[in-house]
């Protein structure tokens, strides 16, 4: 019972925060409120037992994204340009359609805690559950699969992200040199 109450309260706080962000016109508080938003969603993820997702959400959403936003404000401006009402309506339409598509897509997902999903029926599941402890020795099975069994995949992802970061640094660095 208590978990349902917590879920409802956290979700309504998320909605209130999102509405508040949408109403703000100065971008500096918006950057901080997005940090609050991701702290709230991280709490929700912990409530749903997805602790690793929650950790990523808090580190990226509340930590890195806030710092990145602030760095962007230092390079550009922290004020939102005024938008024509016609374009605001268009944006509202696009957001509503995207949200409707996402809600429609979520209807296909298995219910929370359902037992007849591919996660539970896949033939590799038994092997990971039985042997990951002996082969890898990481208590958390998700971490064992992510960091060991599909380690090459993760290495590739890290390479892609590193290259993207390198590109951004080179672009910004060139701009800084020209200013001097």
């Amino acid at each position: 019972m208590i978990i349902e109450v917590l879920n409802t309260l956290l979700l309504s706080m998320l909605v209130v925060t999102a509405l508040g962000i949408a109403r703000m016109r100065s971008l500096f508080p918006v950057a901080m409120m997005t940090g609050l938003f991701s702290l709230l969603s991280a709490s929700l993820f912990v409530l749903l037992d997805a602790v690793d997702v929650a950790l990523t959400e808090a580190a990226v959403g509340a930590g890195i994204i806030t710092v990145l936003f602030l760095g962007t404000f230092a390079l550009t401006s922290a004020k939102e340009k005024t938008v024509l009402p016609r374009r605001a309506l268009l944006g509202l339409g696009v957001v509503c359609v995207t949200g409707a598509i996402l809600v429609y897509a979520s209807l296909d997902m298995p219910h929370f805690g359902a037992s007849d999903t591919p996660v539970h029926n896949h033939p590799m599941r038994e092997r990971f559950v039985e042997t990951s402890q002996a082969e890898v020795g990481i208590p958390n099975m998700v971490t064992a699969v992510l960091a060991s069994y599909r380690g090459y995949d993760t290495l590739g992802e890290v390479c892609v992200i590193f290259t993207a970061g390198l590109g951004v640094v080179m672009l910004l660095g060139a701009r800084k040199k020209a200013a001097r």
């Binding site: 917590l6 706080m13 901080m32 940090g35 912990v46 929650a54 950790l55 930590g63 710092v67 760095g71």
Partner: protein, 95 residues
Amino acid sequence: MFAVAMFAVLVTMLLLLVRALVGPSVYDRILAINIFGTKTVLFIAVLGFLSGRPEFLDIALVYALINFIGTVAVLKFMEYGDLGWESASDREGDV
């Protein structure tokens, strides 16, 4: 008992959310969001004991560290107008 503690944490979260949304000055918002991060740490800790699995306490500790980094970045931005790299201002960097 843990349910009462959870209730108290949630009430504080609501009050802080109101302050962060209404907060007339930027500093109200900074303080509200900083304390909200602390409330998240408490939330995870109390939730761990409420559900009988306090193993996730170290995650709460990581949250406390992340929260600190975010607050320092925000305050540096308030003070210098940037994140303190040297080419952006004539002032010496502080690190």
